[in-house]
């Protein structure tokens, strides 16, 4: 049984003018436990809407999402969504430790060793020594690390990530990709990742779904077989890596403009 299944999901909006916009056409897919899967698609293809619907934060117009055999009607308990805008999603009134502890508190862990667990996670994302800093005292990359630690503290079985590294500089981004892969290997969480960066998707994933422009649908599915652990230099310079990149790029670029 897949851990997450999307069946015929579509989402339409009524715009300010009264006109209907179809953001998501008809998406069906399934993810097995422990997989790292990415959606890659052009900007404005409704990726965020898709993820919000899977996370139970938006009701789909039609179709359904099933997490561990349960149909999603609200935010499911074993799934958490990590937003791109870390500066808007972290709690400015809580320290780094407080933010990470929130993940534990949210699932009802008020135990004595909750703090020890939180500190261990802060270590794991490479923020030792910053426990008592406030989010706004940290750089963007560090803030997103806090958000990742907070999400992992919740111990979700499925972690949804909405372009989490989209607003970070290129070097920080590579660094965080490796941190994420390390955490994923260690914690065995299922990850559904969204990005518009084709190479990022290839580097991270076991499987990629390429999305079309609005109304978005899956136009291609790819299995990525590079060995793990992956390496920013060797993996990315493999000939096959470039082939896949070009293949996906043509798929996205050759679509008719809306």
């Amino acid at each position: 049984m897949p851990i997450l299944e999307v069946q015929g999901l579509s989402k339409s909006y009524r715009q300010a003018g009264g006109e209907m916009t179809v953001a998501i056409g008809n998406i069906s897919c399934r993810i097995e436990a422990g997989e790292f899967v990415s959606f890659v698609g052009p900007s404005g293809c409704g990726k965020t809407t898709l993820l919000m619907s899977i996370a139970g934060l938006l009701a789909p117009t039609s179709g359904r999402v099933i997490v561990k055999g349960q149909e999603v009607v609200g935010p499911p308990p074993n799934l958490v969504l990590l937003f791109q805008e870390y500066n808007k999603s972290l709690f400015a009134w809580r320290s780094v430790l407080g933010n990470v502890r929130f993940g534990l508190e949210a699932r009802g862990d008020h135990s004595a060793d909750a703090e020890t667990k939180a500190r261990a996670l802060i270590d794991l994302v490479g923020l030792r020594g910053f426990e008592n800093h406030y989010p706004w005292e940290l750089s963007g990359g560090m803030q997103q690390r806090v958000a990742i630690a907070r999400a992992l503290a919740y111990e979700p079985e499925v972690l949804l990530m909405d372009e989490p590294f989209g607003s970070l500089d290129a070097l920080t981004r590579l660094d965080l990709e490796d941190t994420l892969l390390r955490l994923w290997a260690e914690l065995k969480t299922t990850i559904l990742f969204i990005t518009h960066d084709i190479e990022e998707a290839i580097y991270l994933s076991d499987r990629i779904w390429v999305l079309s422009r609005r109304p978005s649908e899956i136009v291609q599915e790819l299995q990525i077989h590079f060995s793990r652990p992956r390496n920013q230099v060797t993996t990315r310079t493999e000939a096959r890596f470039m082939e896949i990149r070009n293949d996906i790029y043509r798929r996205i670029a050759n679509q008719d403009a809306p």
């Binding site: 805008e85 009134w93 005292e137």
Partner: protein, 259 residues
Amino acid sequence: MNPVSKFNWPGWLAFSVLLLLWETASRALPGLRVYIPPISQILASLGQLLLSGAITNHLTVSLVRFVEGYLLAAAIAVSLGIILGYFHYLHSLLEMLIELLRPMPSVAIIPVAILTLGLGDSMIVAVTVYACLWPILINTIDGVRNIERTLVDTGRTFGLSAGRILWQIILPGASPYIVTGLRIGLSIALILVTTAEMVAGSKGLGFFILDEERSMNSSNMYAGIILVALLGYMLNRGFVLLERKTMKWRHGMIARGAR
């Protein structure tokens, strides 16, 4: 700003010069002295009033009314503000009423309060509640409305109940605004207690000030005024100290230029 603020020498010097001028002018001009007695005489009166306990009763009465009115207003305004900030429909329903009542000088409500509640404590507390409700209410509404949508969605994806989202996300998220409202409300509450006591009271510092004026005892009248001023100063000071402690994160954020 330097957290350990330096002692303001020029400020204190200017203040002392002013007091000295007051003292000498009042002593030199008998005509002035009737209206403005020397500051030394006023302070002596104040000391005597405090020692004999003649003014402490009034001080306590005013303080109790202030605390009751202020806390009641804060509780009502913050709860109502959160509800109106959250439910846009309710807010648009009440918006006209709020916009109409808010700019009205609150003291105008005193006759209505006397008519309905009489001349007792409850009338004074009621007008205090009414007056300092507005800044707290308006700021709380703004605070709740300005909370990032993502922040609430974060609470939801972490499986928080509506109550916990309110308590753990909306309240702290709106707290910088709420605190601003509470600070404005503090001064307004003191103004209203004093004014209402002047209009209709038989106790309290407002009553005391007016009563001494009517008895032509200007030295005691000024003593009362100084006591109210000190009270206001100390309440404000206490508020700021408390705010610095609880809102440390916010001050750091502003100092950093982060939003």
